[in-house]
Subunit: 132 residues, 2 copies
Protein backbone atom coordinates (compact mmCIF):
# COMPACT_ATOMS: atom_id res chain seq x y z
CA UNK A 1 0.00 0.00 0.00
CA UNK A 2 1.26 3.47 -0.86
CA UNK A 3 2.27 5.50 2.13
CA UNK A 4 4.07 8.84 1.99
CA UNK A 5 7.66 8.70 3.25
CA UNK A 6 7.87 10.44 6.68
CA UNK A 7 10.54 12.85 5.44
CA UNK A 8 8.28 14.04 2.62
CA UNK A 9 5.38 14.27 5.06
CA UNK A 10 7.48 16.54 7.24
CA UNK A 11 9.07 18.75 4.57
CA UNK A 12 6.13 19.21 2.20
CA UNK A 13 2.44 20.00 2.07
CA UNK A 14 -0.01 18.08 -0.11
CA UNK A 15 -1.88 20.49 -2.38
CA UNK A 16 -3.59 18.22 -4.94
CA UNK A 17 -4.10 14.65 -6.10
CA UNK A 18 -3.76 13.91 -9.78
CA UNK A 19 -4.37 10.70 -11.66
CA UNK A 20 -1.06 9.13 -10.60
CA UNK A 21 0.73 11.61 -8.37
CA UNK A 22 0.12 13.37 -5.13
CA UNK A 23 1.20 16.96 -5.67
CA UNK A 24 3.16 18.58 -2.86
CA UNK A 25 4.64 21.99 -2.15
CA UNK A 26 8.05 22.07 -0.46
CA UNK A 27 7.85 24.10 2.75
CA UNK A 28 10.61 26.45 1.67
CA UNK A 29 9.70 30.00 0.68
CA UNK A 30 13.07 30.51 -1.06
CA UNK A 31 11.99 28.58 -4.15
CA UNK A 32 8.68 27.75 -5.85
CA UNK A 33 9.17 24.00 -5.48
CA UNK A 34 6.70 21.27 -6.40
CA UNK A 35 7.18 17.58 -5.66
CA UNK A 36 5.25 14.88 -7.48
CA UNK A 37 4.90 11.58 -5.65
CA UNK A 38 3.47 8.71 -7.68
CA UNK A 39 0.96 6.97 -5.39
CA UNK A 40 2.46 3.55 -5.90
CA UNK A 41 4.06 1.38 -3.24
CA UNK A 42 7.71 0.34 -3.25
CA UNK A 43 8.88 2.18 -6.36
CA UNK A 44 12.33 3.73 -6.30
CA UNK A 45 13.02 4.45 -10.00
CA UNK A 46 10.69 5.86 -12.63
CA UNK A 47 11.56 3.07 -15.05
CA UNK A 48 10.36 0.53 -12.48
CA UNK A 49 6.82 1.89 -12.80
CA UNK A 50 4.37 0.02 -15.02
CA UNK A 51 4.42 1.29 -18.60
CA UNK A 52 1.05 3.08 -18.32
CA UNK A 53 2.14 4.78 -15.09
CA UNK A 54 5.35 5.96 -16.75
CA UNK A 55 3.32 7.69 -19.44
CA UNK A 56 1.05 9.28 -16.84
CA UNK A 57 4.05 10.41 -14.81
CA UNK A 58 5.58 12.03 -17.88
CA UNK A 59 2.32 13.87 -18.54
CA UNK A 60 2.02 14.99 -14.93
CA UNK A 61 5.64 16.22 -14.90
CA UNK A 62 4.84 18.22 -18.02
CA UNK A 63 1.64 19.58 -16.49
CA UNK A 64 3.43 20.66 -13.34
CA UNK A 65 6.35 22.12 -15.32
CA UNK A 66 4.13 24.16 -17.60
CA UNK A 67 2.02 25.32 -14.67
CA UNK A 68 4.98 26.31 -12.53
CA UNK A 69 6.62 28.13 -15.43
CA UNK A 70 3.41 30.02 -16.14
CA UNK A 71 2.71 30.80 -12.48
CA UNK A 72 6.20 32.01 -11.59
CA UNK A 73 7.78 33.15 -14.89
CA UNK A 74 10.77 31.01 -13.91
CA UNK A 75 14.03 31.68 -15.71
CA UNK A 76 14.78 27.96 -15.60
CA UNK A 77 13.12 24.85 -14.30
CA UNK A 78 15.04 22.14 -12.49
CA UNK A 79 13.37 18.74 -12.88
CA UNK A 80 14.94 15.87 -10.99
CA UNK A 81 14.38 12.45 -9.50
CA UNK A 82 17.23 11.88 -7.05
CA UNK A 83 16.09 9.84 -4.05
CA UNK A 84 19.42 9.33 -2.32
CA UNK A 85 17.93 10.29 1.04
CA UNK A 86 14.26 9.47 0.44
CA UNK A 87 14.17 6.32 -1.68
CA UNK A 88 10.43 6.63 -2.43
CA UNK A 89 10.14 7.81 -6.03
CA UNK A 90 9.43 11.54 -6.14
CA UNK A 91 10.12 14.20 -8.74
CA UNK A 92 11.29 17.71 -7.91
CA UNK A 93 10.11 20.55 -10.14
CA UNK A 94 11.70 23.78 -9.03
CA UNK A 95 11.39 27.27 -10.47
CA UNK A 96 14.81 28.87 -10.54
CA UNK A 97 15.86 32.50 -10.81
CA UNK A 98 19.30 34.04 -11.16
CA UNK A 99 18.38 36.03 -8.04
CA UNK A 100 17.64 32.98 -5.87
CA UNK A 101 19.96 32.05 -2.97
CA UNK A 102 21.44 28.91 -4.56
CA UNK A 103 21.79 30.07 -8.18
CA UNK A 104 23.45 28.72 -10.30
CA UNK A 105 24.01 25.69 -8.05
CA UNK A 106 21.29 23.10 -7.43
CA UNK A 107 19.11 23.89 -4.43
CA UNK A 108 19.69 20.72 -2.41
CA UNK A 109 21.84 21.14 0.67
CA UNK A 110 22.12 24.92 0.35
CA UNK A 111 21.32 26.61 3.68
CA UNK A 112 18.13 25.94 5.63
CA UNK A 113 14.54 25.98 4.43
CA UNK A 114 12.74 29.26 5.09
CA UNK A 115 9.16 28.75 6.31
CA UNK A 116 6.43 30.45 4.32
CA UNK A 117 4.42 33.28 5.70
CA UNK A 118 0.92 31.67 5.70
CA UNK A 119 -0.52 34.25 3.29
CA UNK A 120 2.39 33.77 0.87
CA UNK A 121 2.01 30.02 1.04
CA UNK A 122 -1.68 30.25 0.25
CA UNK A 123 -0.93 32.59 -2.67
CA UNK A 124 1.78 30.34 -4.07
CA UNK A 125 -0.49 27.31 -3.97
CA UNK A 126 -3.42 29.17 -5.53
CA UNK A 127 -1.29 30.60 -8.33
CA UNK A 128 0.17 27.20 -9.17
CA UNK A 129 -3.17 25.41 -9.12
CA UNK A 130 -4.73 28.07 -11.34
CA UNK A 131 -2.05 27.42 -13.97
CA UNK A 132 -2.19 23.61 -14.17
CA UNK B 1 20.95 24.28 -36.19
CA UNK B 2 21.81 22.07 -33.24
CA UNK B 3 25.28 22.66 -31.89
CA UNK B 4 26.64 21.17 -28.68
CA UNK B 5 27.19 23.73 -25.91
CA UNK B 6 30.96 24.33 -25.47
CA UNK B 7 30.82 23.40 -21.78
CA UNK B 8 29.31 20.01 -22.63
CA UNK B 9 31.86 19.57 -25.39
CA UNK B 10 34.62 20.14 -22.87
CA UNK B 11 33.29 18.08 -19.96
CA UNK B 12 31.87 15.08 -21.80
CA UNK B 13 32.62 12.56 -24.51
CA UNK B 14 30.10 11.58 -27.18
CA UNK B 15 29.64 7.80 -27.18
CA UNK B 16 26.52 7.23 -29.32
CA UNK B 17 23.76 8.91 -31.32
CA UNK B 18 20.22 7.76 -30.77
CA UNK B 19 17.05 8.77 -32.54
CA UNK B 20 16.74 12.09 -30.70
CA UNK B 21 19.67 12.38 -28.34
CA UNK B 22 23.40 12.45 -28.55
CA UNK B 23 24.65 10.22 -25.74
CA UNK B 24 27.61 11.48 -23.75
CA UNK B 25 29.77 10.19 -20.93
CA UNK B 26 30.83 12.71 -18.29
CA UNK B 27 34.63 12.80 -18.02
CA UNK B 28 34.57 12.02 -14.32
CA UNK B 29 35.66 8.58 -13.16
CA UNK B 30 34.03 9.07 -9.75
CA UNK B 31 30.54 8.35 -11.08
CA UNK B 32 29.07 6.39 -14.01
CA UNK B 33 27.42 9.46 -15.51
CA UNK B 34 25.54 9.64 -18.80
CA UNK B 35 24.22 12.83 -20.36
CA UNK B 36 21.53 12.84 -23.03
CA UNK B 37 21.44 15.89 -25.27
CA UNK B 38 18.42 16.16 -27.58
CA UNK B 39 19.79 17.23 -30.97
CA UNK B 40 17.43 20.15 -31.30
CA UNK B 41 18.37 23.80 -31.47
CA UNK B 42 17.38 26.39 -28.90
CA UNK B 43 15.53 24.15 -26.45
CA UNK B 44 15.94 24.85 -22.75
CA UNK B 45 13.11 22.87 -21.16
CA UNK B 46 11.87 19.38 -21.99
CA UNK B 47 8.28 20.57 -22.19
CA UNK B 48 9.31 23.02 -24.93
CA UNK B 49 10.17 20.10 -27.21
CA UNK B 50 7.64 19.05 -29.84
CA UNK B 51 5.24 16.41 -28.53
CA UNK B 52 6.80 13.57 -30.56
CA UNK B 53 10.28 14.54 -29.35
CA UNK B 54 9.08 14.54 -25.75
CA UNK B 55 7.94 10.93 -26.14
CA UNK B 56 11.23 9.97 -27.73
CA UNK B 57 13.18 11.71 -24.98
CA UNK B 58 11.21 9.84 -22.35
CA UNK B 59 11.99 6.55 -24.08
CA UNK B 60 15.67 7.41 -24.41
CA UNK B 61 15.87 8.42 -20.74
CA UNK B 62 14.34 5.06 -19.87
CA UNK B 63 16.73 3.23 -22.19
CA UNK B 64 19.75 4.95 -20.67
CA UNK B 65 18.45 4.43 -17.12
CA UNK B 66 17.83 0.73 -17.61
CA UNK B 67 21.18 0.30 -19.33
CA UNK B 68 23.13 2.19 -16.70
CA UNK B 69 21.39 0.32 -13.89
CA UNK B 70 22.16 -3.00 -15.54
CA UNK B 71 25.77 -2.10 -16.40
CA UNK B 72 26.71 -0.72 -12.99
CA UNK B 73 24.28 -2.35 -10.51
CA UNK B 74 23.66 1.16 -9.19
CA UNK B 75 22.04 1.45 -5.78
CA UNK B 76 20.13 4.51 -7.01
CA UNK B 77 19.85 6.50 -10.19
CA UNK B 78 19.77 10.27 -10.22
CA UNK B 79 17.89 11.60 -13.25
CA UNK B 80 17.85 15.35 -13.67
CA UNK B 81 17.44 18.21 -16.10
CA UNK B 82 18.88 21.29 -14.40
CA UNK B 83 20.53 23.61 -16.90
CA UNK B 84 21.32 26.53 -14.63
CA UNK B 85 24.86 26.77 -16.01
CA UNK B 86 24.37 25.18 -19.43
CA UNK B 87 20.97 26.30 -20.71
CA UNK B 88 20.97 23.79 -23.59
CA UNK B 89 18.53 21.01 -22.62
CA UNK B 90 20.44 17.98 -21.35
CA UNK B 91 19.50 15.19 -18.99
CA UNK B 92 21.86 13.73 -16.39
CA UNK B 93 21.56 10.03 -15.60
CA UNK B 94 23.97 9.14 -12.84
CA UNK B 95 24.57 5.80 -11.12
CA UNK B 96 24.91 6.40 -7.40
CA UNK B 97 26.41 4.26 -4.67
CA UNK B 98 26.47 4.77 -0.92
CA UNK B 99 30.27 4.44 -1.26
CA UNK B 100 30.64 7.29 -3.78
CA UNK B 101 32.32 10.57 -2.78
CA UNK B 102 29.17 12.73 -2.80
CA UNK B 103 26.64 10.29 -1.30
CA UNK B 104 23.95 11.04 -0.19
CA UNK B 105 24.23 14.57 -1.61
CA UNK B 106 23.78 15.30 -5.31
CA UNK B 107 27.02 15.12 -7.31
CA UNK B 108 27.04 18.66 -8.73
CA UNK B 109 29.60 20.98 -7.25
CA UNK B 110 31.22 18.32 -5.06
CA UNK B 111 35.01 18.40 -5.48
CA UNK B 112 36.73 18.20 -8.85
CA UNK B 113 36.17 15.74 -11.69
CA UNK B 114 38.65 12.85 -11.71
CA UNK B 115 39.87 11.99 -15.22
CA UNK B 116 39.39 8.41 -16.35
CA UNK B 117 42.28 6.07 -16.88
CA UNK B 118 41.88 5.42 -20.66
CA UNK B 119 41.33 1.67 -20.17
CA UNK B 120 38.65 2.29 -17.52
CA UNK B 121 36.93 4.82 -19.74
CA UNK B 122 36.84 2.35 -22.62
CA UNK B 123 35.47 -0.34 -20.31
CA UNK B 124 32.78 1.92 -18.87
CA UNK B 125 31.60 2.95 -22.34
CA UNK B 126 31.58 -0.63 -23.63
CA UNK B 127 29.68 -1.93 -20.61
CA UNK B 128 27.04 0.77 -20.91
CA UNK B 129 26.57 0.35 -24.66
CA UNK B 130 26.26 -3.41 -24.28
CA UNK B 131 23.35 -2.90 -21.87
CA UNK B 132 21.25 -0.41 -23.85
Amino acid sequence: MFELHPRLAEDTLEIARWSLCHVHLMKDARYPWIILVPARANIREFHHLAEADQITLWNEIRRASEGLEKATHAEKLNVAALGNMVPQLHVHIIARFSSDPAWPAPVWGVGEAVPYDPADEKKRIAEFLQCV
